[in-house]
Amino acid sequence: MSVQPYNEDQTDALQEVANIAMGQAGDSLARILDNFVTLSVPRIRQIAVHELADTVTTMVGDEEEVSAVRQAFYNSLRGEAIVIFTQSGADELAELLGYDCELDTAIEQELLLEVGNLLVGAILNGISETLGTELGFSAPSLMAERAPLHQVLAPDQLSWEHALLVEVNFSVEKHRFKSHLLMFMTEETIETLRGILDEFMDDF
């Protein structure tokens, strides 16, 4: 199935919706990390699954290993959100969250899941509030730990052929912490969202 790319206005509207949602997610992150969070300009791409690893590597960089958390979302829009933590950032998470004890793997994993869930929840709530849609989401699961990015995003890890990718990132000033939130929406949802974005624009 081939999908008509979004026009400039639809892309612009989606980028602004992502921007508003990212602002809310960034605020939640800033509160739990007790630090100022620097936000990015959201990036939107329509890609085939085999292009994904290269596209995301260009966005994230591949100098270091990453850990990743994934969560599915459903109702009016269906897809998957993946939060990628660069490893040096993931390693710093405990310190930023105020843990000063020795950490075992289980605690490290729990922190990744917790922060991933916070970001995904905030961004999905932001999107559904702005667009007036209903979105539910599943519990987070750990997708990869200390793995090369290419391996994390290998086509056999993902269940779709062609998707809309929305990327936003969060970094903490004077710290190494950096995470990228990727949202993938599959073909049917690309069309549903096109209609929702057109309606959203009609309001202005």
Partner: protein, 121 residues
């Protein structure tokens, strides 16, 4: 006389949302700018006695615009309109000379409150 107002945002829909939310009857002459550089150019052309400024933008972001305005002692009434709702973001822009902060999505009542507070309407 109409007040020269520049609305700065990289997103076209966002500029539209801001312009739609302006209080009815506020006499302004609107200029749109897509990034900080265009905003400063608009200011220098006398088109920004009031500036509604986004923060996260390519080319030159809103913080850089505020720094330029401050460094060059330029005189314009800046209202930051941003999705970055961190309290620290609001403190930072006010330290850099912004008069007010309004969160996105922007509402007419929020703009009215700021304009009334400073006697602009």
């Amino acid at each position: 006389m109409a007040i020269p107002l520049t609305v700065v945002d990289d997103s076209r829909i966002s500029r539209k949302m801001v312009i739609r939310a302006l209080p009815p009857g506020w006499d302004v002459e609107i200029t749109q700018a897509e990034n900080g550089e265009e905003a400063l150019a608009a200011y220098r052309a006398g088109k920004a006695d009031v500036m509604f400024l986004d923060l996260t933008m390519p080319v030159m972001d809103g913080y850089e615009v505020l720094e330029h305005l401050q460094k060059e002692s330029l005189n314009t009434f800046v209202v930051v309109i941003s999705a970055d709702i961190q309290p620290e973001a609001q403190e930072r822009v006010k330290k850099l000379g912004a008069m007010a902060f309004i969160k996105k999505p922007v509402k007419t009542e929020n703009i009215v409150a700021v304009l009334e507070e400073y006697g602009l309407i």
